[in-house]
Each structure stands twice: as structure tokens, then as C-alpha cells.
Amino acid sequence: MIVIVDYGVGNIRNVERAFTKMGMEVIVTRDIELIDQATVIILPGVGAFRDAIQNLRKYDLVDCLKRNAVKGTWIVGICLGMQLLYDKSYEDGDYEGLGLLRGEIVKFDDSELKVPHMGWNQLVKQQEDEIGKDLSENDYVYFVHSYYLVNEDIDSVIFTSSYGVDVPAIIRKNNIIGMQFHPVKSGAVGSIILRNLKELIV
């Protein structure tokens, strides 16, 4: 069972629709009992880190997500959902994340760059992984974010994208996958990634 966690922020409908289109049945819920039965947990997200983590706490989902990550359930974080997987974010303050992975979320240096990092940017392969199957170096995906991951676990980075710094674009550590861009808004390339995801998780 694939579950999309509905924790009161973001573009859940778009994510739900994209998975359904790929032939994956999904349930949108914040019900802990249902999430505990899932084989795949999707954590979507658009918005601010503070609101997101507060909502996860409010709905009592933090322990639930941690316990399922340890159990080996697939966890897929998209955009803000990926950022939530890490230790800490400095978005408008100093907020603790889920801490499933080691790293911090920091702001782009806007003295040199336009922020948000908004638009289509190219993927740069760091290592082979099933999630990156059939993707080439020239493929563009759609990003919208002002903060990025400074990763302590370099081995987990599958693709980066260059925007002043090397931005982790796809990460994977065992059963945990994160995407900083929006696969459901990334045209045909996004569909390849969703297909890869489907082959991995179903």
C-alpha cells in the first residue's frame, strides 16, 4: 500500500494524480494506523519548513515516520518533504527535522544568485542507482526552492544540480529516497523518475 502523508501543506493533489497516472494506487491520509501498514510512504511538500514540521508533530506523525523508516518501509520525500528527512533546517529560524538522515538545510547565498532557485536545471550524475535508471546528464527537472541540503552523507547523493553550489537533487539511502525538485512537474523526465520509483517500490 502506498500512502501519501496529508499533513496539511502543499500540492498533495498533484502528487496523488501523478502516481495514479503511473498506475500506482495511493491513499492520501494522516491516519497513523494506515501509515503503519504502508509499504511506501510519500512525504510531499510545498511551503515553509516550520509549518511542515509543526504539522507533523501536531498530527503525531514524527514517531510514526521514524519507526517506519527503521522498519524498512520505503520513505520518499519530495521537495520540502525531502528536506524534512534531515536533522535541521535554518529556514526562518532554527528547526529540528525528522533526523532520518544526516544533514542540514541552509539558504542559498542570494548575493550572487536569484533566489528561489526556480526553473529547469540539469541533473548531474554522482553515482549509479536504480532510481536514476535511463536518466542522462542532459536531462532537466523543475526546481522551486530557496533552501538546499548540505549533506553529511555524501554516499547517498545520486544526482546533483548546479546552482552556485552542488545542490543534492536525488538522494537515496537504503529505503529512504529524496528529491529536491518536483518530479510531477518535470515533464517526460519526471515520468521516467516516477517509473523508476514504481519499479523499485512496487
Binding site: 494524480r17 501523478a18 515553509a48 536569484k114 528561489p116 526553473g119 523543475y142 546552482y163 512537474k185 515533464g187
Partner: protein, 252 residues
């Protein structure tokens, strides 16, 4: 590298695309959802829909188009036209819009930019500006579809809008709009250099060189146009090939 974006714009009235189209080869040329899908497949990086209707009945038709578009295309799209309140934002975001652009309402109530940015994040809030050069050579901000001069300075308003939380600016130059004589390069460049958010140039595209000029000399991050695409004067694939051959980074 981050690519420059090419954005077709669809003006929608009473459920149909207006400003004319010349798509004899697709089944229902004036259906905005059909046209949106066509552009998404043709290589558009993003789409903008403007709701140019007034009545509430037509608003509901438009909302339905937003939903259907979100169901159909897999690239981002922005909705503009007649957005007055956070409730309007809410309805459109829930219907599946990725971004919402505000114009006149932002001028009369700048706090709307801030409130929308706090609720949805800056990346969802687009400040759309209609500007026109005055006799002193400075650029004024106009509202109400370009009919009313606010007397506000365009560069100052852009800066203020970004400070309030706008994550992107659409700069539409009234003088060049529909004239097909090229974008206004000087004001586009000035605004692009004055703010740290992406600037989308609008108004004036007639040739592929115009796109090249505004993305290089004008320093725009994206270029928007309606008629050259609707009338098939320029094909997006050809335009991108041209831009790439001139060294402009565009998505393949």
C-alpha cells in the same frame, strides 16, 4: 545550469482561449486545456493563464479549467487575472495551480503579497506589473488592465513587491504589447538587475531574435508571449534550437 524559460500565455474568457489561434491541426483549438497540453508537449517550460472574465459564473468555469489543466499537463502553470484576496489564492492553489499572479490587487493592498507568501511560500506568489514609459523617461506602474496610471515607479514597486515576498515578477510593457516590435530591453534589464528573483519579460515578441535579445541584453530569466505561438509564427522547438545555437541555455 538553470535554463531560460519559454512561456506561452493563454488568455481565457468564458472557458475559451481568446486573442486568436491558428491551430487547424488540433481538434478543439480554443479549448484552453487542449492548447495547454499541446504546448506542454511542444516544449513549453511553463504556462500562464489569464482569466479575463468578470462574472462569477465564468469564474467557476475558469476554476474548472484550472482543475482539468492540472490533471492533464506535467509542467508548472501560473494563474492570473482578477485575483483579489487570499480566498482567491486558496481556490486556485487547491484547484492545482502552481503559482498565482497578482497585479492591481497587489497595488491596492500590498499586504496581500505578504500574506500569500506566508501561507504558500514566495515561490507561489508572482507579482505581475504593467508598465509604461513616461515623458521623463521613467517607467510608471499601471493597473486595471493598463488603463490607470498609479504614478508609482516601476523599479521601486518591483523592489517593494519582492521585499514583501513576491517570488517572481512578470513585467509587461504596455507600449510594446501586441506590437511585435521586440520586448522593452532597458526596463527589463533594470528590473532584473534590481531584484534577486526571476523576471519574466512580457509584451513585444515578434521574432526569434526578440527572445534572444530579452534573455541576453534584457537579462530576463524567462520570456512570455501569446500571439506568436498561437498563430504559429514561431514554433517553440525551433525557437529553442535557435536560442541554443546562439549559446542560450534552454531545456531540450
Amino acid at each position: 545550469m538553470l535554463s531560460k524559460r519559454i512561456i506561452p500565455c493563454l488568455d481565457v474568457r468564458n472557458g475559451r482561449v481568446v486573442k486568436g489561434t491558428k491551430f487547424t491541426d488540433i481538434r478543439d483549438v480554443d479549448d484552453p486545456v487542449v492548447l495547454a497540453e499541446f504546448y506542454a508537449l511542444a516544449g513549453a517550460d511553463e504556462l500562464v493563464f489569464y482569466d479575463i472574465t468578470a462574472s462569477s459564473d465564468e469564474r467557476n468555469i475558469f476554476l474548472d479549467i484550472v482543475r482539468k489543466t492540472a490533471d492533464t499537463i506535467d509542467i508548472p502553470f501560473t494563474i492570473g487575472g482578477g485575483i483579489r484576496s487570499l480566498d482567491d489564492f486558496d481556490r486556485l492553489m487547491k484547484a492545482g495551480a502552481d503559482k498565482v499572479s497578482i497585479n492591481s490587487a497587489a497595488v491596492s493592498d500590498p499586504q496581500l503579497i505578504k500574506e500569500a507568501a506566508l501561507r504558500y511560500g514566495s515561490q507561489c506568489v508572482v507579482l505581475s506589473m504593467d508598465v509604461k514609459k513616461n515623458v521623463e523617461g521613467r517607467w510608471d506602474v499601471y493597473v486595471k488592465g493598463g488603463r490607470e496610471n498609479t504614478g508609482m515607479d516601476a523599479i521601486e514597486w518591483a523592489k517593494q513587491g519582492v521585499a514583501l515576498g513576491a517570488g517572481e515578477i512578470v513585467l509587461n510593457c504596455i507600449d510594446t504589447d501586441g506590437v511585435k516590435d521586440g520586448y522593452s530591453l532597458d526596463i527589463t534589464r533594470e528590473i532584473s538587475e534590481s531584484v534577486r528573483v526571476p523576471v519574466i519579460a512580457s509584451g513585444g515578441a515578434g521574432t526569434m531574435e526578440h527572445f534572444y535579445d530579452v534573455l541576453t541584453i534584457g537579462k530576463a530569466d524567462a520570456a512570455l508571449s501569446a500571439s506568436v505561438f498561437h498563430f504559429k509564427e514561431i514554433e517553440i522547438k525551433e525557437l529553442k534550437k535557435f536560442l541554443r545555437s546562439k549559446g542560450v541555455e534552454v531545456r531540450t
